[in-house]
């Protein structure tokens, strides 16, 4: 046998070995991932072509669910609200936590860690507990927001924060913000610590203002952190189900309806599983596109 074929077959064996090893390492995760994420995802796509409900066999309806979706005004409102939540809360979370981090990272170590800890508290307090206390604070009749607003003269009359379409979504986003800035602040503080000081000093020697030095040097160096924060904040914003379900149930007038809650609503209040799944598919596609964009950005940097 010629030598190079032998080598080729050895390489092939090595490649095969590498593949087998890789998949063995992946196996435990794949069982869970394929079984309880990908398979349900596939079933979601599959069922979206059916008129599925409780207590009877599913009926194939083709694209009827999707056609109905395009004509469902609530779906469009829900889509808009979902996007508003993400588009408003992600940049604000990033900007806010960056700003807080720049301030607290200049403090003495003990103060830095105390503040970091405080801003992280709402995350560990738990979404349900946080939601409940905000519900009480927003209460129309004896919540502290109305009291503070009225006693400081900021508002004239009690505002039914969660019952008024003008304010409800804003309230939800506010609560979401308090529970999502904790981690970015921690990340930014340490990123600021890790910035190459010599570069900053060099920029300052060149006559850059602290502000310019910040943007030209620190911000550039913190780019990976920022991207990572973008990813986790986006994930977080899409997961805000408890807030909606426990505070407003999508109301008033669907002003806080999100796709996530509308799926649940269709499934367990209207028994429309196929329709809910069709919405799930659309949402999954949107999220996949968003993730792709974020990662493309990440790769470019």
């Amino acid at each position: 046998m010629p030598k190079n074929t032998l080598a080729a077959s050895r390489t092939r064996r090595l490649v095969l070995q590498e593949n087998v090893a890789a998949y063995l390492f992946l196996l435990p995760f794949l069982i869970f991932f394929v079984g309880f994420v990908l398979y349900p995802m596939f079933m979601c796509l599959y069922t979206s072509f059916f008129d599925a409900t409780m207590g009877r066999k599913d009926i194939f309806v083709g694209f009827a669910n999707y056609r109905e979706l395009t004509a469902d005004p609530v779906f469009w409102v829900a889509l808009k609200n979902t996007m508003v939540i993400v588009i408003v809360s992600v940049p604000i979370t990033c900007a806010f936590s960056l700003w807080v981090a720049t301030i607290i990272s200049r403090m003495p170590v003990a103060a830095t860690s105390a503040f970091r800890c405080i801003f992280y508290l709402p995350v560990v307090t738990g979404s349900v507990a946080v939601t409940m206390v905000w519900k009480w604070m927003f209460n129309n009749y004896y919540g502290i927001f109305n009291y503070l607003g009225k006693s400081t003269g900021l508002i004239e009359k009690s505002i039914n924060w969660l019952g008024d379409p003008k304010y409800a979504l804003g309230c939800i986003i506010l609560i979401l913000l308090t529970t999502s800035v904790g981690q970015p602040i921690v990340l930014y503080v340490s990123a600021l610590d890790n910035v190459d000081k010599t570069l900053v000093e060099a920029a300052e020697v060149d006559g850059a203002t602290p502000f310019q030095a910040f943007w030209r040097v620190k911000w550039q160096q913190m780019m990976p952190t920022t991207l990572y924060i973008l990813v986790i904040t986006t994930i977080n914003s899409f997961q805000c189900f408890a807030l909606i379900q426990l505070l407003t149930s999508g109301g008033p007038k669907n002003s806080t309806m999100t796709i996530m809650y509308y799926i649940y609503y269709n499934a367990f209040k209207l028994y429309r599983y196929g329709y809910g799944n069709a919405m799930g598919v659309i949402l999954a596609i949107i999220i996949a596109i968003l993730s792709a964009i974020q990662f493309r950005l990440g790769q470019e940097k």
């Binding site: 998949y23 709402p122 209460n139 899409f238």
Partner: protein, 292 residues
């Protein structure tokens, strides 16, 4: 000139941050003080900032309202305890097991994705990325049906399994493991170590900080996760503390004293754990991310 300006900015910033910090602390204070308030003070139009009398009524109410067995193994039923304690036990169990399983599966998979070349790698990674931000509501109906056919409905495992399947941990550890020089792994392999040994003896110690971050993430996430529990658990004895509070608020929607007592019970333990391990927490979180 420039210096004073920046000093003013810094001091103003400090004051604003301090005010913000207070407002972040306030809800927690409101939970704890509210849980000790009398009903009349809870609903007072002018807020009672500090309870005039710290009473335990709400906690008594919380603990006496519902009961559940401490454990149940087949037909062997443990002593009856207040359901809230059982909910805490369930929550700790769920979070701990999710954390352990996720760390184990994710560190193996993250290592393979970072250091191994295999067919389907790119595809798998893009699936992981795409699934990361996926809200669980998308797969709610199929997952419920699946758990039902596996006879896992109303079983704590039904909430653990989807968390372990969530690929964020893998992503985290993969990013981290990529920063580890490949030569180290290869040197070990040349020495004749088996694949498994290479992983446990060389790779794992090096990705430990990443695993730590993954552990913290998973623990907090599953502690806070409410949706899966809402869908998958129904009986009082199998509920978690978040779900328990949510159920209580459905029954006594404006009895905020009771709800705050439940909330305090749910959040104070984890806050204490957090404050004790604060250093490790922040270190873990940043280690996992910054290296990525």
């Amino acid at each position: 000139m420039n210096k004073t300006k920046s000093k003013v900015y810094y001091i103003a910033g400090f004051i604003i941050v301090a005010i913000l910090a207070l407002s972040f602390l306030f809800p927690l204070y409101w939970i704890i003080s509210g849980s000790f308030k009398l009903k009349a003070e809870i609903i007072a139009k002018t807020p009672v900032w500090v309870p005039t009398r710290w009473v335990l009524d709400n906690y008594q109410n919380l603990l006496s309202k519902r009961s559940a067995p401490l454990f149940q193994i087949g037909s062997l039923v443990g002593p009856t305890i207040p359901a809230a304690f059982r909910w805490l036990i369930n929550t700790v169990f769920m979070s701990a097991v999710s954390m352990l399983l996720t760390c184990l599966t994710a560190s193996m998979a993250g290592y393979a994705l970072a250091k191994k070349r295999f067919y389907g790698r790119a595809l798998l990674f893009s699936l992981i990325v795409a699934a990361m931000a996926l809200p669980k509501q998308v797969i709610l109906i199929p997952l419920l049906r699946e758990m039902s056919s596996l006879h896992l409905y109303d079983h704590i495992w039904a909430t653990i399994i989807p968390i372990v399947g969530w690929p964020f941990g893998v992503f985290l550890i993969k990013q981290f493991a990529e920063g580890i020089p490949t030569e180290m792994v290869e040197a070990c392999r040349i020495d004749g170590a088996s694949e498994w040994r290479t992983f446990t003896d060389v790779m794992f110690p090096m990705i430990k900080p990443g695993v730590g971050a993954c552990a913290i993430f998973t623990f907090i996430n599953s502690w806070n996760d409410y949706f899966m529990q809402l869908i998958m658990l129904s009986s009082t004895q199998n509920q978690t503390i978040s779900l328990g509070i949510a159920t209580m608020q459905g029954e006594n929607s404006t009895d905020f004293g009771l709800i705050m007592a439940g909330s305090a019970l749910a959040s104070v333990p984890i806050i204490i754990v957090f404050i004790i391990f604060q250093k490790y927490f922040t270190k873990g979180i940043t280690m996992g991310a910054v290296k990525g």
